[in-house]
Symmetry: C3
């Protein structure tokens, strides 16, 4: 019975991490800065080749920034692809792709960015939270490949 | 034991909703009008900025319409992104993105539409069925943002 | 108890198949030929309109080929959409879409290929492995539609 409960817990953890991850796009694409910030632990860090955000306050400020607001006014979709999730105890990782689509004046959409992502998560007293997201555009360089390779078991 | 069974049921419900959702694209992209219609309750409704479909019969007619058949002949892919799913008892919602890719004469693909979606589901005597899908293209206007924001807890 | 355990096993199987599938993109986009090969049974087959690969050795050779290495140097992302998964005993299928995005010299991304996929899997002594992947570009012809329709229950 305890063994079965542990298996159920493992399944629940994987779906909980998926749910957390799937809130990111809707939060940043709608300007929901508090919802975006709430996904992160206090010491959460987001790193990419163009930004470094340190903690929920920095996440909220990014969402409220003129740069992000300008994308929202244009029409943007930050879409995470279905990732490779690994849960180990109170830690988890998600490795996968993300894309940013931008609405164009003629009504079509451009694929603005396609990135490799490594997300890290921790189980906290109030559920799973993101502790780190490192992403890099897929541009033929080694950085994106290193991120994707890190998730392969 | 009953508590564990309820947890397993919750996991099964989430995967059942995912499975239902993942049949939509293959059904509409292959002209499988009966399969597309079968995903919906009798009072199911699909609303977007360009259409209003009321019930399985209207869904089947849309799939068989010259407009949809023309997209199928051109080569279309209606792809739902991995959504944020919430199950509460006999109801569920899925919030997320969808894209329509269209095959071009030169062999490349255009991203024709990127939309925000809110799906609603009900548990019926024959399993989960969709009761509502509201979607709107992401064009910088408030409609798509409202749909995405509605899924954030 | 045995019935509940069987339900948990079914959920685990579905997530295991998802995990296997989600390793394919990161493996082929990073040149991890051994990781890509390890996803397949000895008699695994990959078929598309442009290739036929027979067994893990052929998969590894494809990843190491000049064609694939050239895509990797350019910056490529082979992204599987969240598929329709069906598990029956020691066999499983996944039906869905895949896309290949390619980095362009101006920094944007082209959608190079959008394909229909049918994956087949078997439970082996060392976990789930892929036994077959058949895919075809979505070009308006019947082949891609047949693949997608095969997954509809």
């Amino acid at each position: 019975m305890a063994a079965l409960e542990a298996r159920v817990q493992m399944l629940e953890d994987q779906l909980a991490v998926q749910r957390l991850l799937n809130q990111w796009g809707p939060a940043v694409d709608t300007g929901a800065s508090a919802a975006a910030a709430a996904l992160w632990t206090e010491d959460g860090v987001l790193e990419s080749e163009i930004s470094y955000l340190d903690g929920p306050g920095a996440v909220a400020a990014m969402v409220e920034s003129e740069g992000q607001q300008s994308l929202i006014r244009q029409g943007c979709a930050h879409i995470q692809a279905f990732p490779l999730i690994t849960v180990e105890g109170d830690r988890a990782t998600a490795t996968g792709y993300s894309r940013v689509y931008l609405h164009q004046e003629d009504g079509s959409y451009a694929v603005w960015r396609v990135s490799a992502n490594r997300w890290e998560f921790a189980r906290t007293g109030s559920g799973w939270r993101a502790t780190n997201r490192t992403n890099h555009v897929i541009d033929g360089g080694p950085e994106a490949r290193d991120l994707l390779r890190g998730g392969l078991s």
